[in-house]
Symmetry: C2
Subunit: 414 residues, 2 copies
């Protein structure tokens, strides 16, 4: 009963706010940098800006189907008083032009074709008509630069194509391909150990449960969030609530991975074993024993031999809430992601009051329909609340709850 | 020059609005259903709801560290007048209880432990104190159900754990693991052929370009968007602007894939070749030749032998805009996704006027900083506008532009 007796005391040891945690727990460890083929680079984080090796598109290019001209030859042109130009030829797609544009001359050019020397604009075909064989009438004036892009308009040589620290998006891959960058120097995906603990926890494949056993719901869900944060999950199975077994599992995880996540057991006794095992891993050790967060207070953050260790509450729902709020940012940081992608969110009106206590950040699951957010209350042990939720509302430390009707920001699950 | 002469006419053939397109182009084809291991099921789309094979958690469970009691034994308890209960034993984590809770009796139970028979509540350890060996004082009353969850509180047997049609999220995987569902029946990822065309287009790995050549920027970027829509990209290389070559490439793609995407060439002539090749693929054929969308008007939608074919504009930026707006919904539909994940967005104030014409939907790229959205204007051929953008603003068909200062919804890129 010693475990129970000490619980109330230990709960209040070194509790930090979520804001303090996000600002203060900033492990220095970063993953190594590797060369990644462009086809595999979606979501990968460049370790340095990628610069244009040459100007893009590399040649002055028509952006319309029409005629390359000297703009001055079209000044004043109108339906009533068109400019007449001699058509000296046509540019073929993907080929260098074979004729120049001299004064009084036009050269047919397709969208994307190379502007012939001497031309400084392209007149859309819709603004021309054939006058006689080999001659066109231009019925609207063009200004220099109309209907074309300059050779360096998409990028000057040496310009930054994509920044470091931001995961590569579809269009970033496109511009890299355009520049001939077939690979990119990117941070390795953080390898994230997921250590499940608990004498009651059995593998998901367990067909029939004994009374008191529960299948490991956290590992597969945490693995999904690790991937969402750009990491590579490394599930390391279920370790019993035993200090030596736990210490051995954690020591191996710290040696082999970039981040270690451990479900710290649900009971105070199990959590104490985890804390002791983490403390024994090495300097600088435990950074906080708890976060002013509901659910998720019994969260442990540590750094051992340079590797961040995140001890999550034992119940899967609290574990997922904490990992979203403070674990994913750590994974992103270690993976070099200084500019994380935006999360979906929506403004909605609260259907009911949300009670809360000041000095603690509350994460409340909500269902959203037609602009109304309905809080889903229930024991933090219930996973069904999370699967029924479309997202969550944060009640900040300084608030003592939110009344029905409040406009709130709902962070949406994807 | 025949190509140029007919351009203005063909542009206005069978143009649909974006809304008409999304509502009207609804191919019936769906991917087959396959069994997917839970570890690989993130983002996969269940083909049918998954039901709980048994109740969850499966046994009445403590949610606190404390003492299982009969609630009636604690009624009226206070600091001044505690209830005295005999401690008959302790429940071990993951084990069946060895003692019952009779009237006047308490059994110690850790968070997550099984409730012993006879108990209907758990008193938190913080609300008790040891009176003498084997006896506790309860100083706050508990109501039935306090400090515990019922055996079927997370799910009744047969309850829906996850719905069909919604991609599996982290918590969905968690609840499936808890229920022992180690695999799920899900739609196969739509295999999406990406056919690049254009006599000027060369592979990204081309080290030195001839004048007039451009590297294929669209394929790798479209592949990323296909993955974002839950599909499996199948890049099929670059086909010349030649009707026979194009027809052969498209026929093979339609036979082997669930969706076919073809960059339809930038010039009117190239687009005509694509349209002719698509029309020859089979019934029901071309659904629209154009969408009232800027950029992206020269978009072709067709269905050939039950497979949707999407002809995108030749320039990469327009192609990406169109594929986000109308291509990704088609990929999701074919993959059985009836409830797509939310997209990130933010409200922002326009820094400058956006001009637009009524009757056409405009997609304007913007940079967002401190709640201000700055429109990024430039030729639609420029990819750099997309890489500089944080997201885009849609100006609907009925609007003739948006004045500076308007509050707009920005869809954010991730």
């Amino acid at each position: 009963m010693a475990d129970l007796a000490g619980a109330a005391h230990r709960e209040f040891f070194a509790v930090r706010t979520v804001a303090e945690t996000l600002a203060g727990f900033r492990p220095a460890h970063r993953t190594t940098v590797e060369t990644v083929a462009l086809d595999d680079a979606q979501g990968r984080v460049p370790a340095e800006p990628v610069l244009a090796p040459h100007e893009l598109p590399g040649f002055a290019r028509s952006t319309v189907d029409g005629y390359a001209v000297r703009a001055a030859d079209t000044y004043g042109a109108s339906e009533g008083l068109p400019s007449y130009l001699d058509v000296a030829g046509a540019v073929a797609m993907g080929r260098a032009p074979e004729v120049d544009v001299a004064p009084g001359v036009a050269v047919a050019v397709p969208t994307g074709g190379v502007l012939p020397p001497g031309a400084d604009a392209v007149v859309m075909v819709e603004h021309t008509q054939e006058a006689m064989a080999g001659t066109i009438e231009v019925v609207r004036p063009a200004a220099p630069g109309d209907g074309m892009v300059r050779a360096d308009e998409d990028a000057r040589a040496g310009a930054e194509l994509v920044p470091a620290g931001r995961p590569l998006r579809a269009q970033d891959l496109g511009v890299l391909a355009a520049a001939g960058a077939t690979s990119v120097r990117a941070h390795a995906r953080p390898r994230v150990a997921i250590v499940s603990t608990g004498d009651e926890v059995v593998p998901p494949a367990t067909a029939a449960l004994e009374v008191g056993q529960v299948r490991d719901a956290s590992a597969v869900a945490l693995a999904a969030l690790v991937r969402d944060a750009g990491g590579a999950p490394d599930p390391r199975g279920i370790v019993p609530d035993d200090r030596d077994a736990l210490h051995a599992a954690l020591r191996a995880a710290v040696a082999e991975c970039d981040v270690v996540v451990v479900s710290a057991g649900s009971s105070v006794g199990a959590r104490d074993e985890t804390a002791a095992a983490v403390a024994a891993l090495g300097a600088p050790g435990i950074w906080t024993h708890g976060i002013a967060l509901r659910p998720g207070k019994p969260t442990l953050l540590a750094e051992a031999c340079g590797v961040p260790v995140i001890g999550l509450p034992g119940n899967p729902r609290s574990a997922l809430v904490v990992f979203r709020l403070v674990g994913m940012p750590v994974v992103r940081l270690v993976g070099g992601m200084t500019d994380p992608p935006p999360e979906p969110s929506v403004r909605a009106r609260l259907e009911r009051d949300i009670p809360s206590a000041a000095g603690r950040l509350d994460v409340v699951q909500v269902a959203v329909r037609d602009g109304v957010a309905t809080p889903l209350f229930g024991a933090s042990a219930l996973l069904s609340i999370l699967t029924a939720a479309d997202g969550y509302v944060v009640v900040t430390d300084d608030a003592t709850g939110l009344p029905a009707g409040t406009e709130v920001d709902v962070t949406l699950y994807r």
